[in-house]
C-alpha cells in the first residue's frame, strides 16, 4: 500500500466523520472541466462571526495544489465589497453571468460553514468544522461537484497523533501562533476533501497527473454505463 493510500485509510476512519460515502458522480465535471476556480467568501451559518474571514486563508493552497488557477481570494472579497456586495450572502446571490464578466472564471466554488467551534472541557479540547462545498460551471450553471465534510480534532488524542502532526506540519509557525484551532482543522478538512480519491476533485490542468486522472475518471465513467449492444448482434 502506498503511503498516500495508507493515509487516506487512516484519515477515513479517524478524522473524516463521513460514513462510507458514495463515490461522487463526475459526469458533469468531466463535461465542463474547469481550469480556473473563483472561490467566493463562505456563507457562515455559525455564531462565530470571524469564521468566514478566517476560512478565506485556508482554501487557496489546497485547491491550487490540485492544479487549478485560484483567483486571489482577498482581492475578490475586497472588489465585491467595493461593488455593493457587503456580505458573503450577497456575493453568493450575484448572477453567474455577472461573475463571468468580471472574473472570466470557468467555475465558482460556493462554500457554507455549518460548524466552526471549539469546546474547552476539563481534560480535552475538541474542535469541529463542517463545510459544504458546491462547484458550479459559470457558463451553464450546472453543478459540477457537491460535498459536505466534517473534520474534528481532539486534544486528548495526544501529541503523537498523526492528525495533529499533519496539522502542525501544514501550518507555518507564524500562522500557528496567531490563528485559532478552527483554522488548522478547516485547512486540513479542505486538503483531505479535495484529495479524497472517491469524493474529491479531479486534478486540474496544471497538475502533473492531470492526463492520468482524466483517463481514470473517463474509464470509470465508461465502466459504469456500458454502451448499448450493437443492433443486429445476437
Amino acid at each position: 500500500m502506498t503511503r498516500a493510500a495508507l493515509l487516506a485509510c487512516l484519515l477515513g476512519t479517524s478524522f473524516l466523520s463521513a460514513c462510507v460515502p458514495a463515490r461522487a458522480n463526475y459526469d458533469a465535471y468531466l463535461d465542463h472541466m474547469p481550469r480556473s476556480i473563483l472561490v467566493l467568501p463562505p456563507v457562515n451559518l455559525t455564531t462565530d462571526v470571524k469564521a468566514s474571514a478566517a476560512f478565506l486563508s485556508t482554501i487557496t493552497c489546497p485547491l491550487a495544489e490540485c492544479g487549478y488557477y485560484v483567483y486571489p481570494v482577498a482581492v475578490v472579497d475586497e472588489l465585491m465589497k467595493d461593488n455593493g456586495q457587503p456580505t458573503p450572502g450577497d456575493m453568493h446571490q450575484v448572477p453567474l453571468d455577472k461573475l463571468g464578466e468580471v472574473f472570466g472564471a470557468d467555475a465558482v466554488l460556493y462554500i457554507v460553514i455549518k460548524e466552526w467551534k471549539t469546546q474547552y472541557l476539563v481534560v480535552d479540547t475538541s474542535t469541529t468544522v463542517t463545510l459544504e462545498y458546491r462547484l458550479r460551471d459559470i457558463r451553464t450553471g450546472v453543478e459540477l461537484w457537491h460535498q459536505q465534510v466534517t473534520a474534528r480534532h481532539s486534544s486528548s488524542q495526544g501529541t503523537n497523533n498523526l492528525f495533529a502532526m499533519l496539522v502542525s506540519a501544514a501550518v507555518s509557525a507564524i500562522a500557528k501562533a496567531a490563528s485559532t484551532p478552527e483554522w488548522g482543522v478547516a485547512r486540513q478538512a479542505n486538503t483531505a476533501m479535495f484529495a479524497d480519491a472517491r469524493r474529491g476533485i479531479p486534478k486540474g490542468h496544471r497538475h502533473p497527473d492531470f492526463a492520468k486522472d482524466q483517463e481514470r475518471l473517463k474509464s470509470e465513467r465508461a465502466a459504469a454505463s456500458p454502451p448499448a449492444p450493437e443492433a443486429g448482434s445476437p
Binding site: E65, P72, G104
Partner: protein, 108 residues
Amino acid sequence: MRTMTALALALALAGCAQPLYDWGQYEDALWRMQTDKFSPEQEAKVLSGEIDATLAKGRRVPPGKLATLGFFYYRSGDREAARACFQREKELYPESADFVDGMIRRMP
C-alpha cells in the same frame, strides 16, 4: 526528524511528492489581513521578497500571490508597483486576464 516525517506525510496527503508551488507566507498574509496588525506596506515587503526568492530558485509562484501583492501595493498608495504586479500575474497565469485587466482599469 519527526517534523520531517510529518511533512512528508502531509505532502503525500496532498497527493503529490512535492508541492506545485512555493507558498511562503501568502496565506499567512491573508490571515493577518483580518487582524488589527495588518499593514499593507509590511505585507508587500514580505511577499515581494518571497516572490523574488521563489523565482531565483526556479520554483513556481502560486496563483494569486502576485495579484495579492499588487493589491497590497495599491493599498499602500503605490499604483505603479500595483499595476506591474497585476501584469505579472497575468503573464504567469493567462487564466487571470479578464480579472487583471478589469482591476487595472478600475485603479484610479
